[in-house]
């Protein structure tokens, strides 16, 4: 069969892959986009960001209803119709997936459905339903993403032991759910199941949930989770899991103290691994690091000059928006532009309740690297908007370079932190100073004012915080 010839082939149609494919096509390149899943959109759309956020939004109402009582508005106990909830979630995915397919078509991007395998540095074999297809390309972009890691000790083949992929399918509402791993995926999905009525226990091997995030940002989340979940158990390791009738018997150990418990379902969220098995990389010059992620330069180019890699396959922060940015850089590099992943600020958001978001330098990183920074904080208890939302459990902080007052990073915990952080990204990217932020008028009453007030507090003059300047003598 005649091979497909193209200038650029993108393997994987996630937020990195399809964005790269579209951008290349917009720049006049002939592009093929290879995806094994019938629906485009990758992990993010199918089994990641989008379905999890849909479920988080839908289940938020439980908390609202409960809290509403104290505001003098009462509802009867809400009921869940799982099938309807699933269908609603699915309808969103379908809408978005079709949107991407339409955009690909409109740009003339050739979508090939099937599993890609590199034959050499210029040929990709695709196993499609209609048989093998070969794509001869000039440049390739690897954007195949990652999958949830499942340690072999837990992999009993029992469907009651789930990864995030299965958990997002909402098979049922288990009375007792164990979440192994207190990272962002475990905390977000734990929140969904707890809202639906499961008794959720979260295990974390390290001393804190959301490891790596600044402690003051985690604290409100931990406090809220302790209320919403049955228990958060840190310093705890799972030793063994076994099938016990319709339940899972889990043997765990906290500070050398072993114990055994029964759970109706277990969610394993202990990290993610790149989807690089059986991709044929051994037939190319692409190299991997010791953790199995692809090694590439600031132009996203791998050791094989014809092949670029973007997104989760490169390790680091596994985030959709990072993959998208890397995709654009890879395409610009192929077009011969002087593009580079040059001090790009990648924000991170954890959709717990309350949300946590940060960008640029964190306080932890500053400590680790011994960088002298000043921290300016504003607590949401003093924000009018936070109180009207009945959500004073928040905090906004700036990480500032003392000599220049330049904003190096921002961290937010509180409702809508994920939407608020973008202003921080802009500030860091633009090299803005604390004064720039303090002098930009923010609308009242909004949560965004907390950013301005945090900047003002750097000078000790935040309107709604205790002044650090002593009153002048009369």
């Amino acid at each position: 069969m005649e091979p497909i010839t193209t200038e650029i082939v993108v393997v994987g149609a996630g937020p990195g892959g399809y964005a790269a494919a579209f951008y290349a096509a917009d720049n006049g390149k002939k592009v093929a986009l290879v995806e094994q899943n019938p629906r485009l959109g990758g992990i993010c759309l199918n089994v990641g960001c989008i379905p999890s956020k849909a479920l988080l939004h839908a289940t938020e109402i439980f908390r609202e209803v409960k809290e509403s009582t104290s505001r003098g508005i009462e509802f009867s106990e809400p009921k869940v119709e799982l099938e309807k909830l699933r269908a609603w979630k699915e309808s969103i995915l379908e809408k978005l997936g079709q949107g991407i397919t339409g955009l690909a078509k409109q740009r003339g991007v050739q979508v090939v459905h099937g599993r890609g395998h590199f034959e050499d540095s210029q040929t990709l074999r695709v196993e499609t339903r209609e048989g093998q297809k070969f794509i001869r390309y000039e440049k390739a972009v690897i954007a195949v993403g990652s999958k949830p890691a499942m340690p072999s000790a837990f992999d009993l083949g029992n469907p009651r032991i789930m990864t995030s992929t299965e958990a997002l399918e909402l098979p049922d509402i288990p009375p007792d759910l164990l979440v192994v791993g207190g990272g962002y995926i475990g905390m977000e999905l734990g929140t969904v199941y707890a809202a639906l009525g499961s008794h959720v226990v979260v295990l974390e091997a390290l001393p804190s949930i959301l490891t790596g995030v600044d402690a003051d940002l985690v604290r409100p989340v931990a406090r809220a989770a302790q209320k919403a979940f049955k228990e958060i158990r840190v310093n705890t390791k799972v030793l063994k899991m076994a099938t016990a009738g319709k339940q899972i018997k889990v043997t765990m150990e906290t500070d050398k103290q072993p114990r055994e418990e029964l759970y109706d379902r277990v969610l394993v969220s202990v990290g993610r691994a790149p989807n690089l098995a059986d991709l044929g990389l051994e037939n190319t010059k692409v190299t991997k690091d010791d953790k199995g992620f692809i090694h590439c330069n600031a132009q996203q180019q791998t050791e094989d000059p014809n092949i670029y890699a973007i997104g989760d396959v490169n390790g680091g922060a596994l985030l959709a928006h990072r993959a998208t940015k890397e995709g654009r850089i890879a395409v610009e590099a192929m077009l011969g532009e002087a593009s580079s992943f040059d001090n790009v600020v990648i924000p991170a958001v954890v959709y717990t309740d309350p949300e946590v978001a940060w960008c640029g330098l964190t306080e932890n990183q500053a400590k680790e690297k011994g960088i002298d920074v000043r921290i300016a904080k504003f607590l949401w208890g003093a924000s009018g908007r936070a109180l009207t939302l009945d959500r004073p459990d928040g905090m906004t902080k700036l990480i500032i370079e003392p000599e220049t007052e330049r904003i190096l990073g921002m961290g937010i915990v509180g409702v809508s932190a994920g939407d608020l952080i973008s202003e921080g990204v802009l500030a860091v990217e633009m090299g803005a100073t604390s004064r720039d932020l303090a002098d930009s008028v923010h609308p009242h009453p909004t949560l965004s004012e907390t950013l301005m007030e945090a900047a003002e507090s750097f000078y000790g003059t935040a309107t709604h915080a205790l002044s650090r300047r002593s009153p002048s003598p009369k």
Partner: protein, 439 residues
């Protein structure tokens, strides 16, 4: 005021106006793009240095313009108004000690160099953060090959804006201008002053067609005149018997091809030259006229002349002496390809210590190349041809590669050159097969 084409990057002498974005009589803002210019490397826009009204446009679309040429004239009201608005501040005080926080920048037209023109400025941050500049300014800097740690930012927190970048470029241009002016003055004393050749009307003998020299053609032309007029050059001719080498190439070409590498005579030459230059460091040196010193380089970066549609370009292979034959072949392939597609960065054309000009793939026998100053030698390579030669008293047919080492007699003597070339020939004639083994 006249807006002139600034120096855009090192080695970029000018470009073609592809788009004029303003009209005569139009009011324009400072930093507004006035036209787009295509250079050897990229298309970039030229920003207006100040606010005002365009009184005249001196160029047309499609016109070739050089650095320093007047593009448009602006009648700027802003500068005068600004001066009267702040009578309290004396100009002397403001120019002597510009504070970091001061938002006002000296106009690029000002004759005094901008404050950042202090030599050796480097942005340093205790936090290790890069110099503060918006993503769009960082992109401009990347496009123009400007290192932002060298640019002093004028805004709060040392933030760099477009005017700062422009002032820095202007300063670079001035420095460069002073350099060439000094060199020209030094030359004119000894040599005949360069006068433009007389304009001849060729059409009096028949029809003619005129074509503007491309920026690249002009660069080649200038560099060649520079080399020809400044370097006392000797050409050392010799031949290498590459029959055995070609047999080795045939034997191993397929293995290399599997690794995506073409095994060419140039790759062999690079390996041999890397070693020979290490043995003869003087051939890898440069002459510093001003200090009367010979500069020996511990690195060995070899330029390889590449014939492109636009003309000759010489990209540089770095650290040739530290690489094996496979690496050299692969790099040569990708570098030549990049050069032909005109995707080579200006930095990749700089820093060479020696050059190979191999015409063999096109044809040609001995030729005498021109040295690529400030290097001191170049190897010209012709086509390997089957020839009858005497081997052990008998006539044999061997493949003979014509070589010419052109060298700067100020640095190298005849004996040095012969020894150097003999070592290159020996390296080719008794090439060690071990060097072809892939590890």
């Amino acid at each position: 005021m006249d807006v002139k084409l600034p120096q855009l990057a090192e080695g970029v002498e000018g470009g073609t106006v592809v788009n004029i974005l303003v009209a005569e009589g139009q009011e324009i803002q400072k930093d507004q793009a006035i036209m787009e210019l295509e250079t050897q490397k990229a298309v970039g826009s030229i920003p207006a240095p100040s606010t005002g009204v365009v009184t005249k446009i001196h160029v047309n679309q499609g016109m070739e313009v050089s650095v320093g040429q007047v593009l448009i004239s602006i009648e700027s009201s802003g500068a005068a108004a600004g001066a009267t608005a702040k009578p309290a501040q004396t100009p002397a005080a403001s120019s002597a000690a510009p504070s970091v926080d001061s938002p006002s920048r000296p106009s690029p037209e000002a004759t005094a160099p901008p404050s950042q023109a202090a030599d050796g400025y480097r942005y340093e941050s205790k936090s290790g953060a890069p110099p503060p500049a918006s993503p769009s300014i960082r992109k401009v800097a990347r496009d123009l090959g400007i290192d932002l740690t060298r640019v002093k930012g004028s805004e709060a927190g040392g933030r760099i804006n477009l005017a700062d970048v422009r002032a820095y470029i202007q300063w670079l241009q001035e420095i460069a201008g002073q350099g060439t002016a000094a060199a020209a003055a030094a030359q004119s004393g000894a040599a005949t002053p360069a006068t433009p050749s007389q304009v001849v009307d060729f059409s009096q003998w028949g029809p003619v067609r005129r074509e503007k020299m491309s920026p690249l053609r002009r660069t080649v032309s200038r560099r060649m005149v520079e080399s020809w007029t400044t370097i006392p050059k000797i050409n050392q001719l010799d031949d290498a018997d590459i029959t055995a080498l070609l047999a080795l190439r045939k034997k191993h070409a397929a293995t290399f091809a599997k690794k995506g590498a073409h095994l060419t005579v140039t790759s062999f030459l690079l390996l041999v030259l890397g070693r020979t230059l290490k043995k003869h460091p003087r051939a890898n040196s440069s002459l510093d006229d001003s200090s009367l010193e010979i500069v020996y380089k511990d690195y060995c970066h070899i330029g390889v002349a590449v014939d492109t549609e636009g003309g000759l370009i010489v990209p540089i292979l770095r650290n040739v002496d530290q690489k094996n034959l496979l690496q050299l072949s692969q790099e040569l392939d990708s570098l030549a390809e990049k050069t032909r597609q005109r995707k080579i960065a200006i930095e990749e054309l700089q820093g060479g210590t020696f050059t190979i000009s191999n015409q063999g793939s096109i044809g040609g026998s001995h030729f005498t190349p021109i040295i690529y100053a400030p290097q001191v030698a170049i190897l010209g390579v012709g086509q390997g041809r089957a020839q009858p030669v005497a081997v052990d008293g008998k006539i044999a047919i061997r493949t003979i590669l014509p070589l010419c080492l052109a060298y700067d007699h100020r640095v190298l003597d005849g004996a040095d050159a012969v020894r150097f070339l003999k070592d290159v020939i020996a390296g080719l004639e008794s090439f060690d097969e071990a060097d072809l083994k892939l590890k």
